[in-house]
Symmetry: C2
Subunit: 210 residues, 2 copies
């Protein structure tokens, strides 16, 4: 079959967009044609914003989350409890947990999880700096909030062992049936875990279902 | 609610990606974080490829499709029939029709369809240049291959009226039940149209269903 693209310039741009996660060649073409219809000013603004982020991005020296300042707004917030640290994979998880408005401590952003297949080992992640924070003292609890996957569990165990020498409580976020899920359709591992980790039910239990 | 983004640089980049069609804020964040994990070299290449396309893009002077050369490969192909012109909205439709390997004529790319809501009138499209091509003679048939929507039909009628003064056959691609569709689930308009426009059935009819 012939090359379906009428222009190499177009094909190159489509190839670049198709490298992005979840963007197939059809979507990539749609996005490129959309940008091609925009004013040159807008396209320049698009690329400049991206390059500016890449060049000037800064990470909080305390929790390693993306931040415009040396210490991020969360770490600098005096109303938060600095003795509880929630360990997350990335900025996306910080944003997701912040949206719940259920956590008042600080974070530690690993920048990924241990994944031998992708060549990511403990030294590629902010695990040593987490140990340093705990070693420095005044930390009462470390909450592990990584994905409920094999890689997440590997990372959980690795961090747990690293922190064992210190007087710190290590906990993990609850795994169980999601709110709104029907028991019938829950997978066996999740359902089994939710029975093992059942919590007391009484009058003060908050009903969150619709 | 507080601004969920820990960095303005990050937020700006997410805003730019979220302007693209079909990209929500969650996907935009995922794409931006993916690019942030890449080498600066790769990010530069991404933006340069896009800017190069925007700056150097060229349209075929004959059919107005995107092309690296003054006359595109299709218009320049001597084995194709220059007396049949297929009118399409955009480069995507040229690529889709070329993939069918069922059309051996040339194209005319309008660059959109008439859409008063989006402020797109006939003068924003390559309709005058289509009329010029037909006026110049040697065109036997113009095939309308626009979307089967209100805007597509409006554009079809407009072009049809513009071409009426010339000795040219104007046809429209068949509308009917799609291959693989069950009659039961076909919409009424499509089914009605497919009955009106029924074609003779005989031994040479190609069965294309599985």
């Amino acid at each position: 079959m012939n090359n379906p693209y009428p222009s190499t310039l177009l094909e190159n741009a489509v190839n670049e967009f198709a490298k992005l996660p979840g963007i197939g060649r059809k979507s990539a073409l749609r996005l490129v044609l959309h940008l091609l219809r925009q004013d040159e000013k807008n396209v320049n603004h698009f690329t400049e914003t991206l390059l500016k982020l890449k060049k000037e991005v800064n990470y909080c020296t305390c929790c390693h989350n993306i931040s415009d300042t040396e210490i991020c707004a969360i770490c600098a917030d005096k109303s938060r409890d600095p003795s509880v640290i929630c360990v997350v994979e990335n900025v996306k998880e910080v944003m997701a947990i912040e949206r719940t408005v259920q956590f008042g401590g600080l974070y530690h952003v690993l920048g990924g999880i241990i994944s031998p297949i992708d060549g990511i080992g403990p030294s590629d992640l902010e695990i040593a700096s987490l140990e340093e924070r705990v070693k420095a003292g005044d930390i009462k609890e470390v909450i592990l909030a990584l994905s409920a996957t094999m890689e997440g569990d590997t990372t959980n165990f690795y961090i747990y062992r690293k922190l064992t020498p210190y007087q710190v409580k290590v906990s993990i976020i609850a795994r169980g049936v999601s709110i709104g899920d029907e028991i019938e359709y829950a997978d066996e591992v999740t359902l089994g875990r939710s029975i093992q980790n059942r919590t007391p039910f009484n009058e003060s239990y908050k009903l969150v279902t619709k």
